[in-house]
């Protein structure tokens, strides 16, 4: 465990530093140092300061937020394939943002964040409500199918909105593909505060989350308000997903992979799982961002596609283990 944590943090640092150096243009450590400390003012310094540092910050915040959102969804529903991307929560946030930009172009970032969060909450409520009303508790399969379908519905709606309003088409298509490049940093502080609040809440409830991993009746008899906890933490997860969608567009699979890596690393209680999911989320965000620069070199690839290449094999592996309750 301790080795994994040290290794993970070191890997995060290494990836972050590498991300400043590597890209379409590769810069020497001296140039990067001069740019970061503000000693230089040439093109290289501008590229590093204004392009690479912001996307590094975004990759860290979005990765950590999605990792935590995925963990919360998986723990609260006891469903190993729960994830904001697959369950349509990201699509809900994206739909909210597309609607907002179509109706009121040039809205300030704070508005975009709140609308994205609202959209995410709405989609999460819809998907979980549907899965509940399908009966049989919350079978992972029902939940996933409900999520995929709600996502398809929202994506179709977005398509119509985008085609109806061609002026915002370019801006939206770029944003919808999910990427850390050229995003405004104005909202990063809001996102960092949101992330910090989310981490605080989930750490405070870590004990209750552990108890919830048994069945509902046991948790209830041990004094955990199961329904309140479930809905509260799902709302937190949806808000985190909404934040990251507002920042970087919909990124799928990151929230699925990070908590599983944390479990593979040996974390069992939520006091360990939460920080490790944050760490692996950051690692995936930074690593994915780096891969996105090179997988289609010299063109930039959307982070969502890169994450799917990593996430789908994992999803299939999870399905092949017979741990899933299937109707």
């Amino acid at each position: 465990m301790r080795g994994v944590v040290i290794g993970g943090v070191l890997a995060c640092l290494a990836l972050a530093v590498a991300g400043l150096h590597l890209g379409v243009r590769v810069y020497a450590p001296g140039q990067v140092w001069a740019a970061v400390t503000g000693a230089a003012d040439d093109t290289a310094a501008i590229i590093i300061r204004d392009l690479r540092v912001p996307r590094m910050a975004l990759a860290i915040v979005v990765g950590a937020a999605l990792g935590l959102a995925g963990l919360l969804m998986q723990s609260v529903t006891r469903n190993p394939i729960a994830e904001p991307g697959l369950l349509g929560v990201n699509a809900g946030a994206a739909f909210g943002v597309v609607l907002l930009i179509t109706l009121a172009p040039g809205a300030p970032f704070a508005t975009i964040v709140s609308v994205a969060a609202l959209g995410a909450l709405g989609a999460a409520a819809l998907v979980f409500g549907l899965a509940y009303s399908a009966g049989g508790g919350m079978s992972p399969i029902q939940l996933l199918l409900a999520g995929v379908t709600v996502a398809a519905l929202l994506i179709a709606g977005m398509q119509v909105l985008i085609i109806l309003n061609e002026t915002v088409l370019e801006e939206l298509i770029f944003w919808l593909s999910g990427s850390f490049t050229d995003r405004p940093l104005t909202g990063l502080w809001i996102a960092i505060c949101g992330l910090a609040a989310g981490v605080g809440v989930s750490l405070a409830l870590a004990g209750a989350l552990d108890v919830l991993q048994a069945d509902d009746a046991t948790a209830q008899s041990l004094g955990v308000p199961v329904v309140k906890l479930r809905f509260g933490l799902l709302a937190v997860a949806a808000l985190l997903a909404g934040l990251s969608v507002a920042l970087a567009g919909p990124v799928a699979f990151l929230g699925l992979v990070a908590p599983h890596l944390a479990r593979l690393a040996g974390a069992q209680t939520h006091r360990e799982l939460i920080p490790l999911s944050l760490m692996f989320g950051t690692l995936l965000g930074l690593g994915g961002d780096l891969m996105a620069r090179f997988i289609l070199y010299p063109t930039e690839a959307p982070i969502s596609a890169v994450m799917a290449l990593v996430g789908v094999p994992l999803l299939i592996t999870l399905l092949r283990r017979n741990r899933l309750r299937v109707t």
Binding site: L144, L145, V150, A156, I163, P302, A305, L315, L319, T327
Partner: protein, 333 residues
């Protein structure tokens, strides 16, 4: 009573098709449509009808019918009422095939170096590869039809990521072409595409006629079906391959028009019962009606913009899928 209800869908499809021919950026009353159809109308009417409206409606009808029948075969073969080509990754697989075809056979001037008539074959190849992968993954734990859907969802996500990467990597001209095609629309229809799909239909018709009887036997459980003299595995694989090929043919010309393959067979079963022959005819008829209707709707509502018909079928189809999901969940609970 039921007899009367059964004749409603074919009549409705004909009516929708007629309206679809008449309505467009310039409205053409029925008498002018008929006159132009027989070459008696004005030159402009004739050109609009024969070069634009007619291929568009025919293409929508053929593609919709193919998707409806493909979905019905898929649901029968997997014994899973929720199986649909768009959910099992077949549509996205076909998209991957077509994009690889675009990328491999384009020269520097972005022109295709081989005939575009090969495009359906590329789509079929991609669809078969992804469908086979889903099939192999699900075959090893064949106990659960739901698991099949999950593998389908996973492979569809993978295919989707590959499509996005290829669109970005490819030349810009091809990218915009691919995006329009992927969204699923029939507004670029021409007679060549109608011809491709018509030939595909001619090719599958005999197989379809042959498979009707085994499909009825397949409704029994496996052991009873075997005792009626049916080779269950062979029938099932034949139905699956046929379904994949029909999906691929439709997708390669009209793109990703989702949820038709899910809804048409269901509605057909409600209307025409569970016998295979009437259900196939019904699914074809209703599928055609759905796509013509969706295309008509986007033409009438969003003129002059070309909203893809696939968006409309998804907006109608997704809620229906959710309804089926809930009903099935309740049945199990």
């Amino acid at each position: 009573m039921t007899g009367a209800i059964r004749t409603v869908p074919p009549l409705a499809v004909m009516l929708i098709a007629l309206v679809a021919v008449a309505v467009g950026s310039s409205f053409m009353p029925l008498d002018r449509v008929i006159a132009a159809l027989f070459g008696a109308g004005s030159r402009a009417d004739g050109i609009i009808l024969w070069n634009i409206r007619l291929p568009r409606v025919l293409l929508a009808a053929l593609a919709g019918a193919a998707l409806g029948v493909a979905g019905m075969l898929l649901q029968r073969a997997t014994r899973n009422p929720l199986a649909a080509p768009s959910i099992l990754g077949i549509v996205d697989g076909a998209a991957v095939g077509v994009l690889i075809f675009f990328l491999l056979f384009s020269n520097d001037a972005n022109a295709l170096v081989v005939s575009v008539n090969w495009q359906p074959l590329a789509a079929a190849g991609g669809a078969l590869v992804f469908a086979a992968t889903v099939g192999i993954l699900a075959y090893q734990d064949a106990v659960s039809p739901m698991r099949l859907l999950l593998y389908g969802v996973a492979m569809a996500a993978l295919a989707n990521a590959i499509v996005v990467l290829m669109i970005i990597a490819g030349p810009v001209f091809r990218a915009s072409q691919a995006l329009i095609w992927l969204a699923g629309s029939v507004h670029t229809a021409d007679w060549r595409e109608v011809g491709i799909l018509g030939m595909a239909w001619l090719a599958v018709l005999p197989v379809l006629a042959w498979i009707v009887r085994p499909l009825d036997q397949l409704r029994l459980d496996d052991e009873s079906a075997v005792s009626t003299g049916l080779n269950v595995t062979r029938t099932r694989i034949a139905a699956l391959v046929l379904s994949v090929l029909m999906t691929a043919a439709a997708v390669s010309v009209v793109g990703g028009i989702g949820f038709v393959g899910l809804i048409a067979p269901h509605a057909a079963r409600l209307l025409y019962g569970t016998r295979a022959a009437p259900q196939i005819l019904g699914a074809a008829c209703l599928g055609a009606g759905m796509v013509i209707g969706a295309d008509l709707l986007v033409r009438a509502a969003f003129q002059p913009l070309e909203v893809p018909a696939g968006a409309v079928t998804a907006l109608i189809g997704a809620p229906y899928f959710v309804y089926l999901l809930i009903r099935q969940g309740r049945a199990y609970a």
